[in-house]
């Protein structure tokens, strides 16, 4: 049983774990407490022997064991106290609960990417005719073929508004008579072709080419 409240400080003092005011207080105390001083002397003797002869004293059981070194498991387990390990385990469980339970519910739908047709500037579809000026209302629109299995969509514009559009797999299209009638002499029109893959993806867009139908002389 402890006889003096300073008794617990003996080891800390002798092992240099006391500093500053605490050290001074303890030193002053053992000048006044014969019991603590005797205990301190005895403990100092024990520690001195262990420090100086420990390698011989503990040779059989512990130094050999020490030479083997701690196993990786011991190193890991001794890294934290049991309480700390418990905290880590609880935290890890909470983390996984949040990760697996809550986050999927918060997840929004997968991001959707759209290709704005007007922004695609492939430019690899070369328009052949009509271009610039024509003497008569064109009956056929022709462009250079890009590849097999592509579908072309032709747009004819009147002042920026789509006048007519049509889809074909050929590299030309014959203008229907009723559309020809809409094209008047002396006016300017433009046209454009877009190419689509069999899956319906836009693969190329021609530049929009203007043409003028000259008035008959």
């Amino acid at each position: 049983m402890r006889k003096c409240k300073f008794e617990d400080l003996i080891d800390d003092y002798l092992l240099n774990r006391l500093a500053g005011e605490n050290k001074e207080k303890f030193e002053e105390h053992y000048f006044n407490c014969h019991y603590c001083f005797e205990k301190t002397m005895e403990r100092d003797e024990l520690i001195s022997v262990i420090k100086s002869k420990g390698d011989i004293i503990f040779k059989d059981e512990y130094v050999a064991e020490e030479a083997k070194g701690e196993t990786w498991l011991e190193k890991i387990t001794s890294f934290l106290t049991p309480k700390q390990w418990a905290m880590v385990t609880v935290s890890a469980c909470l983390f996984f609960i949040i990760l697996l339970g809550v986050i999927p519910n918060l997840k929004t739908s997968s991001p959707q990417f759209f290709i704005n047709e007007d922004l695609v500037r492939g430019g690899s579809i070369t328009l052949i005719s009509p271009v610039f000026e024509t003497q008569t209302v064109p009956s056929q629109f022709e462009w250079k073929k890009l590849g097999e299995d592509l579908e072309y969509k032709i747009y004819i514009y009147d002042n920026g508004d789509v006048l007519w559009k049509k889809t074909t797999k050929e590299n030309f299209i014959v203008l229907p008579e009723e559309i020809k009638k809409l094209l008047t002499s002396g006016e300017k029109y433009s046209w454009q072709v877009k190419a689509f893959s069999p899956e319906g993806f836009l693969v190329s867009v021609s530049s929009r080419v203007q043409f003028k139908i000259n008035r008959p002389e």
């Binding site: 030193e27 262990i50 420990g54 512990y62 106290t81």
Partner: protein
């Protein structure tokens, strides 16, 4: 006058070992001058008491502790100044003290070897390996309080073994 002499003798008997311990702890037991420092402190204490400088404002222990601490500080300061000019003397223990201590240490070492593994283990981890009380407790799977108890009990057992 006689009363004063008895008191001083008592003080000398009682405090010489305490002062010696404190001095050795502070300047090192291997420092050759430690005994001179202790003698100076004791002389100083006696002189001050005779001059009536101890007015019982504090305990006699605290009074002696204060004188001891001041002298140790002076010694260390003085030593630091000297060391700037001359090399530090090689520390050596007193031959008699060395032999006496060596014999005591041998007896103690043998006694520790006789302890059961339960107590040897705690001494090994706590003092030899210099682990904290909490670390020892963790390694042995016991509460920290139990570490102190085992160390204290080891000391009791050692006392018995040494007496035998």
């Amino acid at each position: 006058m006689e009363k004063e002499a008895i008191n001083l003798e008592e003080i000398y008997q009682k405090y010489r070992s305490v002062i010696s311990f404190r001095v050795k702890k502070s300047i090192g037991a291997s420092t050759p001058e430690w005994e001179d420092v202790v003698n100076e402190i004791i002389t100083n204490v006696v002189e001050k008491i005779r001059k009536g400088e101890f007015r019982e404002e504090s305990s006699i222990g605290t009074f002696i502790y204060t004188i001891t601490s001041r002298r140790i500080i002076d010694y260390i300061r003085q030593k630091s100044k000297v060391l700037k000019h001359v090399p530090e003397p090689t520390p050596y223990p007193h031959p008699h003290e060395y032999i006496e201590n060596k014999e005591k240490a041998e007896i103690m070492a043998k006694a520790i070897k006789k302890l059961t593994p339960k107590y040897r283990e705690v001494l090994y981890l706590y003092y030899y390996k210099d682990l904290s009380r909490e670390e020892v407790a963790q390694k042995l799977g016991i509460p920290p309080r139990r570490v102190s108890e085992r160390v204290n009990y080891s000391q009791k057992l050692l006392k018995k073994l040494i007496k035998i």
